[in-house]
Structure formats: structure tokens, C-alpha cells
């Protein structure tokens, strides 16, 4: 009896380890890298807190499409593009500080919502292939974004300030300075504990989004989303407007991604016009997966753990690379291949688990049929 209990405890521990393979792997990597990098604990905590404030909002917005069973929303980048257009306009109108941030967030809503609607509609046309569809939509809309920013802004959309316009008279420069907006959100209500700056207002905004997610899950729409996420056909039979629910989830994700991008950019203090959004989606998704989320299940806890672990790895990898090989570039490469690798592993694990569950269900059905046949 005792042996049986030990065996089942061992099995459940193994199952837990298998389910949390990615976070465990990252914890081990970080534990090895931290002493090699040689940073002080104070520096590491400061960096992690800064990066949490910068990235958590963006990572949390990925939860809505996962709730609706649409997987990882690579198209959150569309919200980032909407926010970038809004921030370019705000910078040109010279609206600075917190009012600039608020205005950029409000202005980003129509852009992000429209792009989210387009994306959601296209994803509905490609049910079952949402992730790859959203990934490619990303490139498609990026082309439009470049067209607008490079040719329409300054020629059709009035841009007054030469400091953000290309010397030829239209199009936006490679980098737009947001110096007058830089860390205005982070510095307001910021507190310092043992040299660690805590951007309280940014964390309040993140906490509000977390509360919204918790509340939203309990609403009718939230329940509908979860039902759609579990089984499309059953949800349809239950009278839920599946397509509409899925579009709403993508729109919510892109709109919140727009807000998140504004928070991110005010922290950075400049806007890389043509590249700012391109890797945001990839890194946010990687961070969420590192936190133990999967394509079909993710929680607020996964987002927090993921951002901490992923960014800890990002901070210490160049130092560790320099320690091992004498070249920090190796660490730089390492963190890039790890972030893409983590997405690949998570997708493979998801598919493998799905197949295993399917075959298990098939075996159980066969056994049940056999037993039924035997009884007759």
C-alpha cells in the first residue's frame, strides 16, 4: 500500500515536472548564469522590476485570445503598430508628459480596434490555423504600416516638426525622440526601497488589468469566450455567437497591446519607428511560454513568472556569455535562440500532448467497446 502511494506520488511529481518543463529549464539556466554574470542582487532586482513595468501589460494582453481558444496572438503586434502611429501624432502635436501618454492611449484605440477587427475576421476564416494566420497578418499589416509611416505621413497626414520628419520632407525618421514623455508614468508615484526604484503607477495599471481579467472571466462574455475556447461546436450549439466572441477577444487583445506599447515606449524614451513593434509579439509570447503557459491555457501567474524568468535570462546571458567564451555576443546569440527555441518547444509539446490525449481517448473508447462486446 505504502509502495503504491510512493509510486503514485512519484508519478504525479514526474507529471508536474513534465507540465512545467519550460519554467524549470529556465530556472536552472538562470541559476547557472547568475553567478557567472557577476551582477549584484540589487542591480538584478532593479532591472527585473523595470522590465516588469515595461513588459507585463503587453504580456497580459495575450490572455484574451488564449481564453477564446485562438492560441498565441502573434497579431498583438497590430496593437503595437496602432500605438506607434498614435505616439508619432502625439509627438508631433507636442503633447508631453502624462497627458501625452493618456492621449496616445486614447488615440491608439481606434487604430488597434480596427486592426484587431480585421485580424479577428481573417482568423475566423482560418479556424484551426489561427496562430500561423495571425503571424502572417502581422507581416501584411506591417507593409501597410510602413507605407503609411514612410509615405503618407508628412505628405497626406500633416506632420509639422522637422525633428521627426525625414529630411526629404515626408515620412518619419528611423527614431522619434520621446524625451519629454520618458518615464513620466514610471516616475510619478515611484518609490525607492533599498535603491530599487518601483514604478508604482505602472504597477497599479498592471494590477488594474489583472483585476479586469479576473472580473472579465466571470462575465457572460468571459464565460462565452471560455466555452468557445473549450469546444467551438458545443459553444455554437449552446447558442453562442462564436465568430463574434472570437473577434471581440482579438480586438481586446490588440487594444490592450496598444496601451501596453505606449507604456513600453514611455519607459524607453524613444520610438524605433520601423522596428519597434516587430519583435514585441515574439518576445511577449516567449515570456508567457517561459512562465509555464501553453497554447490553450495561460494565467496571470504565468505572465508574471514568465516576465521575471525570461528577462532575468536576458539580463544575465551576455555576462555569462562573456564569462564562458570571453565574448558577450555569444550570450546575445544565446538569448535570441533560447527565446525562439522556447516557442518552438512549447508548440511541439502542445501538439504532442494533443496527440497523446487523442490516442489515449481512442484507446479508452476501444477498451470500453471491447468490454461492452464482452458483456453482451
Amino acid at each position: 500500500m505504502n509502495q503504491k502511494n510512493n509510486l503514485s506520488a512519484g508519478n504525479s511529481l514526474l507529471e508536474q515536472a513534465r507540465n512545467n518543463a519550460v519554467p524549470i529549464m529556465f530556472i536552472i539556466i538562470c541559476a547557472i548564469f547568475i553567478p557567472m554574470a557577476g551582477f549584484t542582487p540589487g542591480y538584478l532586482v532593479n532591472e527585473i522590476v523595470t522590465r516588469m513595468g515595461r513588459n507585463l501589460f503587453l504580456v497580459l494582453c495575450l490572455l484574451f485570445p488564449i481564453m477564446a481558444g485562438m492560441g498565441l496572438n502573434f497579431a498583438m503586434t497590430l496593437g503595437a503598430m496602432g500605438a506607434e502611429i498614435a505616439i508619432i501624432l502625439v509627438a508631433d502635436w507636442q503633447i508631453w508628459g502624462i497627458p501625452g501618454v493618456v492621449l496616445a492611449m486614447i488615440l491608439s484605440i481606434p487604430f488597434s480596434a480596427l486592426l484587431g477587427f480585421i485580424c479577428g475576421t481573417l482568423q475566423n476564416m482560418a479556424k484551426g490555423r489561427e496562430m500561423i494566420t495571425s503571424y502572417i497578418i502581422n507581416y501584411f499589416i506591417n507593409g501597410w504600416y510602413q507605407l503609411i509611416v514612410l509615405y503618407v505621413m508628412g505628405s497626406i497626414i500633416p506632420i509639422v516638426h522637422a525633428s521627426i520628419m525625414l529630411p526629404r520632407g515626408y515620412g518619419i525618421r528611423n527614431t522619434v525622440s520621446l524625451l519629454n514623455m520618458r518615464q513620466c508614468l514610471d516616475d510619478l508615484l515611484a518609490i525607492r526601497i533599498k535603491g530599487v526604484k518601483i514604478p508604482l503607477l505602472t504597477f497599479i495599471l498592471i494590477a488594474l488589468l489583472c483585476l479586469f481579467i479576473v472580473w472579465f472571466r466571470r462575465t457572460k462574455l468571459g464565460q462565452d469566450m471560455r466555452a468557445v475556447g473549450q469546444d467551438l461546436q458545443v459553444a455554437k450549439d449552446a447558442g453562442i455567437n462564436v465568430d463574434r466572441t472570437r473577434i471581440i477577444s482579438v480586438v481586446m487583445s490588440t487594444v490592450f497591446a496598444g496601451f501596453g506599447m505606449v507604456i513600453y515606449l514611455q519607459n524607453m524614451g524613444n520610438l524605433p519607428t520601423y522596428t519597434g513593434h516587430s519583435q514585441i509579439g515574439m518576445f511577449c509570447i516567449a515570456a508567457l511560454l517561459v512562465g509555464g503557459a501553453s497554447v490553450e491555457k495561460a494565467s496571470i501567474g504565468n505572465a508574471f513568472l514568465g516576465v521575471i524568468l525570461f528577462h532575468l535570462m536576458f539580463i544575465v546571458a551576455p555576462g555569462a556569455g562573456a564569462f564562458i567564451t570571453g565574448d558577450p555576443m555569444v550570450g546575445e546569440y544565446f538569448r535570441v535562440f533560447l527565446s525562439y527555441g522556447v516557442i518552438t518547444v512549447a508548440l511541439i509539446m502542445y501538439e504532442a500532448k494533443k496527440r497523446m490525449a487523442k490516442s489515449k481517448a481512442g484507446q479508452e473508447l476501444a477498451r470500453a467497446q471491447k468490454e461492452e462486446g464482452g458483456a453482451q
Binding site: 522590465r51 515595461r54 513588459n55 502635436w93 507636442q94 503633447i95 508631453w96 508628459g97 502624462i98 497627458p99 501625452g100 493618456v102 492621449l103 486614447i106 488615440l107 484605440i109 510602413q146 514612410l150 516638426h161 522637422a162 525625414l166 529630411p167 526629404r168 515620412g171 525618421r173 528611423n174 519629454n180 524607453m268 524605433p272 519607428t273 520601423y274 522596428t275 519583435q279 514585441i280 518576445f283 528577462h311 536576458f314 546575445e332 546569440y333 538569448r335 535570441v336
Partner: protein, 167 residues
């Protein structure tokens, strides 16, 4: 009935957001204010001499210490610009502290204030002018978005920065 209530709710939300955006546009308009401590010559036949020294404090922070012919600057968000001036008229004098409040025009980015003229109580055209940045020859900037999308021009995109930047 339900859809009517929904439309009203959406319209109200849009209205509130537009109102907040409008407020932000007014209260968040940034300006760069330049202060000149320069002699204003020949204004209606009279000269207004520069002070020996002016110390400018904005929002409790000392932003400029101006000797004769100096220019200082400060940034300001909103239209009601306030500063404190500690004016030393002649060498050896005790500085006189003055609180100054100026209404800034919404449409102007850079505003130059001639302090001797302003403190002499002259009309706006005597002490106010718009800052026009000097035109400079700019280095040619690479046009973004032109070139091989895959970053494989010659070096397979593997050299130098990985383009990851700071995330």
C-alpha cells in the same frame, strides 16, 4: 430596447474619451521657453539694459543663471507659465525676487522672452518672439524600409547587432 441602450452606452463612452483627449491636448501642450538677459535697444527711443545677473527657477528647480547677454531655457507643459526670478540689477546689489506668470500661446513651440523688456512692463511685442531653430545641413539619413527584407545582403545578416536591442 437593449440595443438602444447599448448604442447610447457606446456613444457616451466615445464622448467621454473624446472629452478626455481634448483635455489632454490642452493641458499637455509642451513649450520650450527661452529667457534672454539682453539689452533691448531703441524701443520707442529708449534702451532697456540687461541685468547684471538673473537666476531663473521653474517649479522649484533652478534652470538658468543668466549673466548679461545670456540665454537660458526651460520646458513647460500647459499654457500658464510660472517662474521665479532673482534679479541682481547692478553688480553688488542685493537680488530682488519676483514671481512671474506668463500666458503662453498654444500654437507656438518655442517662445523667447526678453527679461529686461518684460520686467519693464513693455507691451508683448517688445519682449515676446517666436524661437525659430536655425536651419542646418543634415547628414543624409538612410531611407528606412529600403533594401533586402531578409537582411541577407552579402553578410547573411549575421554580423554586428542582432537587432534585439533592449526589451
Amino acid at each position: 430596447m437593449k440595443s438602444k441602450r447599448r448604442i447610447v452606452f457606446i456613444l457616451l463612452t466615445v464622448l467621454v474619451l473624446v472629452a478626455i483627449a481634448g483635455c489632454m491636448m490642452v493641458i499637455g501642450r509642451g513649450h520650450t521657453v527661452y529667457f534672454d538677459n539682453k539689452t533691448l535697444e531703441g524701443y520707442e527711443g529708449q534702451d532697456y539694459k540687461a541685468f547684471d545677473r538673473v537666476v531663473v527657477t521653474v517649479k522649484g528647480k533652478e534652470v538658468a543663471k543668466l549673466d548679461k547677454r545670456d540665454r537660458g531655457m526651460s520646458i513647460w507643459i500647459g499654457q500658464n507659465f510660472k517662474m521665479t526670478l532673482a534679479i541682481t540689477e547692478k553688480k553688488g546689489d542685493e537680488p530682488v525676487v519676483k514671481e512671474v506668470s506668463i500666458k503662453l500661446p498654444y500654437s507656438v513651440d518655442g517662445i523667447v522672452i526678453n527679461l529686461p523688456a518684460y520686467l519693464a512692463g513693455l507691451p508683448e511685442d517688445a519682449w515676446y518672439s517666436e524661437f525659430v531653430p536655425a536651419a542646418t545641413e543634415e547628414p543624409v539619413e538612410d531611407e528606412p524600409g529600403i533594401g533586402d527584407e531578409f537582411g541577407m545582403e552579402g553578410d547573411l545578416g549575421l554580423e554586428g547587432d542582432l537587432g534585439v536591442g533592449d526589451i
